[in-house]
Structure formats: C-alpha cells, structure tokens
C-alpha cells in the first residue's frame, strides 16, 4: 500500500495515549473511568458531522474565524531577510487562541450532560475563554488560578468575574499554574458526576493532548490554505511560542508531514536557561518525568521533585510541556529554542512600533526568535509565526519593566 511507504508524523497518539514514550494516563483510579468516558465521547464526536457543524458555526460567528494571515511588511523590511507572516489568532474573540479549544470541550461537555465546568489558568486567557463560553451556554464555571498569577493578571480576573465565573486563587504549593492544575484535578476527583475539566493546553492525561491539539489545529489548517493563496506554496518555517504548547501544536500539526517545512517552538528562557532554573524551558533545561497525567519533559530536581519555572509571561510559566512536543523534540521533527524575558520585551516593542500590533508576551517570545533568524535568511524564505494572543493583559507588566509610571496622569516616563 502506497500509504505505508510514508511514515506519517500525524498518526499519534497510540491507543494508550502515547507519543513514543510520552503521554499516557497517569491519574488516580477515581479519575480513570472519567477520562475513559471522555475518550469514548470524543472518539464519537470526532466523526460526527453535527459536532463539527456546530464548531464551525461558532468558530465563524462567535470567534471570528478564519483569523487573517498577515504579511508583516515593515517588520520584514526592517529585518532585511525572510518574509514574515503573522497568523493573527490574537484577533479571536477573547484575544487569544485559547477559545478554539474551549469551544470544542464545552460542546463535548454539553453532549455528556455535564453542568459544571472547571478550568485552570495561568495568564488568565484560558480562564477568560472558558468563562466566556460558559456564559454563552449558561454553564457554571469555576476557574483555578495561582494566587501569584491572580495578582499579576488582575484585569483577567475581573473579566472572568464579569463573565460570571468563580475564580479561586490557589495558595497550595507555590501558588502558580501547576498548583492551579493540581487543585483543578482535586476538584474533579471530588465532583466526578457533574463536572467537566476543561484543560487549556495540550497536556494532561490522554485524550486531552490529542483532543486539544485537534481543536487547535484549525490554526494550522487555515494557515496552510492562506499561505498557498498568498504565495502559492507552503511556508518554509513555522515559529510559535510554547508554555504547555497548544497554540504551537495547533499551528504545527497540519504541517508535520510536510517535511520541507521547518518547525520551531520557542520556550520561555526567563532570565536565561543556564542560570539556576529561572526559566520555563522544559525541553532545553528539563528531562522526562511524570506530572499531571502524562509523561513529558519537566523541570525537576535530581530527586524527581518538580521545580517552579520562571518567566515574565504568566502564560508560559509551567514546568512541563505537552507530550507531543517532547516526542517531536526527541525524533527531531521540530526544533525547540528559548528566548529570554529581555529579548521578548524587545520584540514586544518592535511589534508595537513596526506593525501597530500589541502582542501578548507569549507570542513576543516567538517574534523574538523570528527577529533572530529572519535577517540571515534569503528574501524568498517564508516564515509563518503564530501571533497567538494580544497584549492588552500585559501592558501593566511591560510598563513596570520599562519603568513607565501608569499612575502618572501626565504619562511621563518614571525616569
């Protein structure tokens, strides 16, 4: 059979939810029957046209898809090399790619008769998307958010509350995204009958990594068609930022078998990967371990205790990464690099001044890598970068870093 000659990168995970050795179902027995139910329901939905009809209708009329593929002309000129395109997922309703996945999971939850939705959130984007869709469908929504993140992302906390969600600041552990995920799992284990856990990234026990990837793959599918329409060929390089890795997986997945397309994931390098764990670069600075239901690369000490990552971006501040990325890293289909806070902030400002786009700090990391590589590449080299979120939520963080005093009514620089 002709197809067998071609070893596809898109066939994972296997029936045990594994991508190579990564992934799996490392959960307590209480949750196991629930994730088996979810898997069965998702398998049914996947081939059910009415499910996708509902998704497509909402993607079009509620989210505003397809998101544009935009040629960043001035930035391209300034960099003087490769032609840079942005996939504009920051233009989605709620301001990021997160809602692509949330819609899918909430439609599934409704099909399963679940009435209460829980979610974890770091920067708040997934929490806002979940609260939004729950409001639309009249579902009860509870969002777990690290106490530290509640402080640094207060606009999103207010947004979620406006949308009717209950936001629970998590103080267990160190009060960050991983602790929020722990508490969401604890909630789920306690409220097994009526509750659906809407995970925000391509991590967690099977089927979440595959399911979230499938919902986010709309990004890559559109990008592929749009690039063909704009340039008559596929991009040469894809670049996306990675915390858990859902926007990246969404862009990458439809291109995995297009072997001439180079794929680059950008992790958060924080204050630098070589310093003492002041970063969130799981692939560059971690090793395989088991956390939150899956085996993947993790930041951990020699004894297998999980370490806190650090990044200026709350959305990248997670000590793990989706298992499919770990697999793509090990087999070499994708390349993973890291970008420091400082480089991301420079890219943030360049996007504002050159393109009139205020990016979120997460895609600012991706852009920083584009800024590094584009000048060395030929002018006919096509880069497609996922602009996965807008920066409204980050302006306070950036102002602080740049020394701009937001309380100064005359808007003077603090220095």
């Amino acid at each position: 059979m002709a197809n067998d000659l071609f070893n596809s990168f898109m066939s994972g995970p296997d029936e045990n939810g594994r991508f190579g050795i990564f992934g799996g179902r490392f959960v307590s027995e209480t949750l196991m029957p629930l994730i088996l139910d979810l898997e069965a329901e998702y398998e049914k939905a996947k081939t059910d046209q009415s499910f996708w009809d509902e998704m497509n209708d909402l993607w079009t009329h509620y989210v505003g898809r397809p998101s544009p593929l935009y040629f960043a002309e001035r930035l391209t000129e300034q960099l003087g090399g490769a032609k840079v395109y942005f996939k504009r997922d920051e233009l989605n309703h709620t301001g990021a790619h997160k809602i692509n996945n949330v819609l899918g999971q909430i439609i599934l939850a409704r099909r399963m008769g679940k009435t209460r939705i829980i979610a974890e959130t770091g920067a708040g984007q997934h929490g806002v998307a979940t609260a939004t869709v729950c409001a639309k469908f009249g579902l009860k929504c509870v969002v777990y958010m690290g106490a530290h993140d509640v402080q640094r992302q207060s606009p999103n906390v207010f947004r979620m509350r406006l949308l009717g969600a209950e936001v629970i600041p998590v103080t267990s552990g160190r009060g960050t995204l991983k602790d929020a995920m722990n508490d969401a799992l604890r909630d789920w284990v306690t409220n097994v009958r009526d509750t659906f856990y809407c995970i925000g990234t391509v991590a967690g026990p099977h089927p979440y990594p595959a399911m979230v990837r499938d919902f986010q793959s709309i990004i890559g599918k559109e990008a592929k068609e749009q690039m063909l329409a704009a340039e008559g060929r596929l991009p040469d390089t894809l670049v996306a930022a990675i915390g858990g890795g859902s926007n990246a997986m969404g862009l990458f997945y439809p291109f995995l078998d297009d072997k001439d397309v180079k794929i680059i994931g950008v992790e958060a390098g924080g204050r630098g990967v070589n310093e003492k764990m002041e970063h969130c670069a799981s692939l560059t600075g971690g090793r395989p371990g088991v956390l939150h239901g899956n085996r993947t690369y993790l930041l951990q000490d020699d004894d297998g205790q999980i370490l806190e990552g650090y990044s200026i971006s709350a959305g990248l501040d997670y000590p793990g990464i989706g298992p499919e990325h770990s697999w793509l890293h090990e087999i070499g289909r994708a390349t993973y690099v890291s970008i420091t806070d400082k480089e991301a902030l420079e890219a943030f400002q360049l996007s504002c001044s050159s393109e009139g786009i205020i990016p979120a700090l997460e895609p600012s990391h991706a852009l920083a890598h584009v800024i590094k590589i584009a000048p060395e590449l030929p002018k006919d080299h096509l880069i497609c970068m996922n602009m996965c979120g807008r920066g409204d939520k980050d302006i306070f963080t950036v102002a602080k870093y740049l020394g701009f005093d937001m309380s100064d009514t005359e808007g003077r620089d603090a220095d």
Partner: protein
C-alpha cells in the same frame, strides 16, 4: 509470603481487623518522624503506610500536602525515606511497610534501581496513586517480579465492569477509597462503604482495607467493621502538624487502633 500476607494471616487467625496508619516520611523532620514510625506498632498499628514526599500530590488534601512540604523543606528525599524505613527495620522485622506516594520520584530514580533499594530497605509494598492499571507495565509488574506487593486503589467510580482490571495485578490487599475526593476531606459512611466492600470481595480473595475520610476511633471502628481494616492518615498527620509530642501522637493513634481492633 510477604510481611503483608503474613500480617493478614496472623490477624485472621485472631479474628482481628487491620489498623493501618499513614505518616509522611520526614515530617516535620527525619528524627521525629523516625520516632513516630518506631512507636506505631506499639500503638496498635498493623501496617505502616510511609508517605514519600512529592511537590505535587494531586490526590491529597491540604493536610498531606503541607506535610509533604514540611518534609521537603526539611531536606527529605527518596534516599532519606528509604533510610527511614531501613532504620525502622533494624528494630522490627514483622510490621509491613507500604510506601505511598506518586510516580515521578520513583521514575526519576529509575524503576529497577528503586525496586532493588526499596526491597533492601525493608519496604514490603507500594501504593502509587498516579499509576492506574492502564500503566501497569511502568512499575506494578516489575514490582511484583521483584517480590514487592503492589496495592491498588479501588474507588466509588470503579464500576463492576472495570473492577477485574483493577484487581488483576493487585497483591497484598486492596485499598478502597471510601469517597470521591481527596485525603482528609469528606466523611466516610459505613452504610455506604459496606456494600462497596462486599462488591469488591465478591471478585477477590484479597483483604479490603478502607481509607479516606476516617478520623476518629468511632469511625475507625465502624468502617473496620464492614471491611478487613481501616486506614487513618490526615488525622494523625494533623497531630504532628500541631507540634504534639510524639507520645501524644502515639496515644491518639492507640485510640484509633483500639477502635479498629474492637470491630
């Protein structure tokens, strides 16, 4: 025959229910923790569950979470946990020790090396919360081959269809989780637990021990009366958290074991 099998044979011959106590290794520090563990058999504890501290105990409530943090902050490691078991074994060769925790510290050590070290330290069984039967190849099967019991959790969500899969590679005993929830939260009710235990016993000859939501001598007795024994964890760990002297902690444990043994 492992120490666990021998213990149940002995309890059966005396027509007694088992009392199982959980403490976190290294909480609040190595020496105090060792003193507590050494005192448990004298306080009527039949089987010791020794918690292996982990940063992200996703099935545990605040009491066990904080105990793990105290232990880790005090420098507890997998090696020190094994050392604690070893030191206990020097003075007690019969009380079974079951190590209870999460997979990553074990995976990080390497399964084969860990099993060798655990066996050498006198550990008899393992409860690893985040390894359901779907992941048996990881640790369960290698542990059985190495002669360690692998004790599985059965829960209210484990229905009859799934139960055989859960029981298949379980040995030593079955740990029935009395509630859907985390440790130290809701109350276990004997009226709910009894039929569940019977449901499990219809499919296995292994003893069924019940844990989660048991925190008083009365609960210990009422739950043990409908099962083969009861586990108490958070209530004991709370005493340690309050800084009670070891003798007082053990006196409390004695009231709980008396409860189970009166069943």
């Amino acid at each position: 025959m492992t120490r666990i099998d021998a213990k149940f044979a002995d309890l059966n011959s005396r027509n007694k229910k088992a009392f199982v106590a959980y403490v976190m290794a290294g909480d609040p520090d190595f020496d105090t923790s060792l003193e507590v563990v050494r005192g448990l058999p004298g306080a009527g504890v039949d089987i010791i569950e020794l918690g292996l501290p982990f940063t992200d105990p996703m099935a545990d409530g605040p009491t066990i979470q904080l105990a793990g943090q105290r232990a880790l902050d005090g420098g507890m490691t997998l090696d020190r946990t094994l050392e604690l078991a070893r030191r206990f074994r020097e003075g007690d060769d019969t009380t079974p020790i079951v190590m209870m925790g999460y997979y990553n510290p074990i995976y990080s050590r390497g399964v084969d090396l860990f099993l060798e070290q655990a066996k050498e330290a006198g550990i008899d069984g393992l409860i690893v919360v985040d390894l359901p039967p779907e992941e048996d190849e990881e640790l369960c099967i290698p542990a059985q081959k190495a002669g360690l019991n692998f004790i599985r959790l059965a829960t209210p969500t484990t229905d009859d269809k799934r139960l055989p899969k859960v029981l298949q590679n379980t040995s030593g005993f079955v740990y029935y989780v009395s509630i859907t929830g985390i440790t130290g939260s809701a109350q276990a009710q004997a009226a709910d637990v009894g039929p569940e235990v019977a449901r499990i016993k219809a499919q296995t000859d292994l003893p069924v021990i019940v844990g989660f939501g048991i925190n008083t001598p009365e609960k210990s007795q009422s739950i043990a009366s409908v099962a083969d024994g009861a586990v108490v964890g958070s209530a004991i760990v709370n005493q340690i958290a309050e800084g009670k002297p070891v003798a007082e902690v053990l006196a409390f444990v004695k009231t709980l074991s008396d409860g189970a043994h009166a069943a």
